[in-house]
């Protein structure tokens, strides 16, 4: 399988006041096209920092990140935005939907930014919401939706631009166990049926175990990589 994302010796530290806190201390791994990769670790292990770096939201202090052949260090800010728009989909713990937009408009937003004609964009957004089982909730605003529904809208938004890779940051972290599980199943389904690549960041071992591969992150270092036979989630 082709490598869709490469992380090479990535280091990142934060300055809090006068203290420099290392978040990542030389992390390397690859993401294969079509796999579901879980990055698992306790809080403070550097998971979120890693996800931000992989998604081009932030830049590493040293090391290299290559997404679909593009080394992110070399890209100016605008090109990074372009890359986020066309190749990466984000799913966040707190959904991060725009509160004043309907579900449909939230999903359409990346297409709007990309300059897709409105009619075409809305059709695409609607078809994805249908796929997520939200046909009846399209014209509701986020506050009228349950947590699970909001996360499915966020998932639709992440997928709307046909990204190479979806980066999910604790996608079940703000949901009850049952709903969280539904989201995990949804990702599995999209992976199986559409070959969508997922990187899921989680501190929940049950979620992590559903992945093809699991990377244990601890204190900013990769402690172990575990190839897991995928659990049957059906």
């Amino acid at each position: 399988m082709a490598k869709i994302l490469e992380v090479r010796e990535v280091q990142k530290s934060y300055q809090i006041g006068k203290i420099v806190v290392p978040a990542l201390r030389g992390v390397s791994f690859d993401v294969e096209e079509g796999e579901v990769l879980a990055i698992f670790g306790p809080s403070g292990s550097g998971k979120s920092t890693l996800l931000h770096l992989m998604g081009g939201l932030d830049r590493p202090d040293s090391g290299e990140i290559v997404v679909d052949g593009d080394s992110l260090q070399k890209l100016p800010d605008d090109a990074l935005a372009e890359l986020r728009l066309s190749k990466i989909g984000f799913v966040f713990q707190f959904f991060n939907l725009l509160p004043r937009l309907t579900a449909l408009r939230n999903v359409e937003l990346p297409l709007t930014i990309a300059g897709t004609p409105e009619k075409q964009g809305l059709e695409k957004a609607a078809s994805l919401l249908k796929l997520m089982g939200l046909e009846a909730r399209m014209h509701h605003r986020p506050f009228e939706l349950s947590g699970g529904e909001q996360q499915r809208v966020a998932m639709a938004r992440a997928l709307v631009n046909n990204p190479k890779i979806v980066l999910a940051d604790e996608p079940t972290g703000n949901l009850d166990t049952k709903t969280g599980w539904e989201i995990v199943q949804l990702m599995q389904k999209l992976n199986k049926e559409k070959g969508q690549t997922f990187v899921i960041i989680t501190h929940d071992p049950h979620v992590a175990e559903t992945a093809d591969r699991m990377i244990f992150l601890k204190d900013g270092l990769v402690e172990a990589v575990k190839e897991a036979p995928r659990r049957n989630t059906q």
Partner: protein
Amino acid sequence: MKISRIISIAWENMKQRRLRTSFTTLGVVIGITAIIGLASLGEGFRLEIRDRMQQGFELDILIVIPGSFTTGLGEFEPQEVSRVRNVSGAASVTPLITLPRTRLLNEEDEPLNALTVAGVNFKEMAQMLPERLAPLEGSVPSPEENNTVVLGYKACFLNESTRLVNVGDNVTVQFGAAPYNVTKKLKVAAILEKSGTSGITNFDYWAFMPANTTFNLVKREVYNIILVKVADIEESEEVGRNVEAVFDNPYSVSVLVPLAFMRQVDRILNIVQIFLMSIASISLLVAGIGIMNIMTVSVMERTREIGILKAIGAKSRTVLTMFLAEAMLIGLIGGLIGMLTGYGISYGFAYGLSNLIQSQQSSEVAYRTQNPERLSINPVFSPEWTVIAFVFAIVICVVFGLYPARKAAKLDPVNALRYE
């Protein structure tokens, strides 16, 4: 991202915060109202003053007087008058002589209300100023009819009800100081229509006699005013210079060019207007600062939203444009409303001011004029000023929106996403 979509998103954002947007826009509305109002009232005021002055002056008539204010006033010899007649650009020329220390008495030896007594060529004067020399009673005599007099309307009245003289009456002219004065009997040939306006060609208090009769009184043929009607009003100043050039000594003549005076007054009024408008512009600046303030707060409130937009691929430029579009829309809407309220307010003000002026004026002019021409100010809307004010509103909003918009555009997406 298409600009039309950015604008429609900005519009949606503003609609979401209706009250706040309204208050921000109000500042712009007030600024533009002030500018449009002052511009249109100022322009109306300027035109009214210009009209007034045009009524007082015959703008196409230059007044040539001998001497100057510094060297003292002299006299014109007949040959000097002939030279002025040949000046290029002069359509017609007529000389006058005004007599100092001269009184007119009616048949009962009561003095007439003639403040200025002048010797003129009636034919030339009537041609040059037909409206000013229109007779109410009698007829203006030919130049050959010596020993006649034409009286201005008010010269014939002591007050509104007491008439001093009628056409056909004899009047006595007393010239010079007693006991050396010369007297002469003249017949009233005509009484002129009331001219009503103020200014130097208001002949209401004048008495005119044929120039020859005057020469008999002063024993010489001299003049002390030459009126020059110019062929083209725009060349007034040039004709004025031509007249001056006829005289050897530049101090021996003064040419009053009403147009030049008018232009100067116009220039002064223009400066006053621009000054007033720059004061009005300050209110627009204040509105701009209000926009900056509100938008900065708005950027803070929407930090997380900006972070989301950036995370899903919006470029900094897109975020910048989004906020600038909001500022621009505020300017656009504020400008449009301000234009309308500016028009409305200037009509209201003009109405109020005109009424105020008229109520003050009517007591003063009731006696003097039959049909008092009342000063009224009508706002004049110049398309240029309207466009300038409108563009200014948008520019101010965009300029002041730039700081918060840049702040939004520069937000770091990771920090913005974490913002609570």
